[in-house]
């Protein structure tokens, strides 16, 4: 992977992730307005807009963030499963995207009802409250990957530690070969730290 391609993927990942957060924040603001507003036209417009934002902005950005994150991690020494912070980012994004997809039907349902009838404050109150709760929860969950990306807390997974050991053994054996201390056939074999 060339440095310019890596930089491009990083830019795409940041744009999609931060854009996703902004879109969910807008969705949350609309869902609160839809729940609390007394104006029927406002309520109708809000739920139609929420449906559009969810389908055309949030879902595509969620998949873009997921895809660019995976590609980005595989193209750098960080890897996808080597460091706890990268692994947690992946799990949180997959979890949030799954919940989002599960709630798409509910979003569409409320939008359809808002379009076909005039919703009073009591109509679909529980469903509308659910949209507020899930938008707030999604926003909170997706803030964690941002914090993890900035702080990059230390800690390798068991898999990452094993891979690092293998790489060090390999690099040590290459140095020995260059110095003429041993032949490559003897030094490349062990990968468990028990070699001679």
């Amino acid at each position: 992977v060339t440095p310019s391609l890596r930089l491009f993927m990083l830019t795409a990942h940041i744009l999609s992730s931060v854009g996703l957060l902004g879109a969910i924040a807008a969705f949350l603001a609309l869902s609160i307005t839809g729940l609390t507003s007394q104006d029927a036209l406002t309520v109708r417009g809000v739920y139609l807009a929420m449906d559009l934002i969810a389908r055309l902005v949030i879902v595509p950005l969620a998949f873009a963030a997921l895809l660019t994150g995976v590609v980005q991690s595989l193209g750098t020494p960080w890897g996808l499963f080597r460091h706890y912070w990268v692994l947690l980012k992946l799990l949180l994004t997959v979890f949030a995207t799954t919940v989002l997809l599960l709630k798409m039907e509910l979003i569409r349902y409320v939008a359809n009802r808002a379009a076909s009838t005039t919703l009073s404050s009591a109509d679909l109150h529980d469903a509308r409250l659910q949209l507020v709760v899930h938008a707030a929860g999604g926003l909170l969950v997706l803030l964690v990957p941002v914090v993890l990306s900035v702080y990059k807390p230390r800690g390798m997974t068991r898999y990452g530690a094993r891979k690092l050991r293998e790489q060090r053994v390999l690099s040590q054996s290459h140095v020995r070969v260059r110095l003429g201390l041993s032949r490559p056939k003897r030094t490349l074999a062990p990968i468990n730290g028990q070699g001679s």
């Binding site: 706890y84 947690l88 730290g193």
Partner: protein, 63 residues
């Protein structure tokens, strides 16, 4: 004589353990809320369909 290990024994960082505990507590809370019928209207949506439910709505209600 075997070489010393190149890396110290693998240990899970404290922040990962704390994170795991928080996730487990939240999951248990969600399960309790769901079982007690206080999961932010989840049961109410399914149990009390609006009178003008359409075919699409029925799919949501039986979810």
């Amino acid at each position: 004589v075997a070489d010393p290990p190149l890396e110290p024994a693998h240990t899970t960082p404290r922040w990962v353990k704390i994170f795991g505990v928080v996730v487990i507590v939240l999951a248990v809370l969600m399960v309790i809320l769901h079982l007690t019928g206080n999961s932010f209207g989840g049961h109410a949506i399914f149990d009390h369909p609006p009178s003008s439910s359409s075919g699409t709505a029925r799919g949501v209600l039986s979810w």
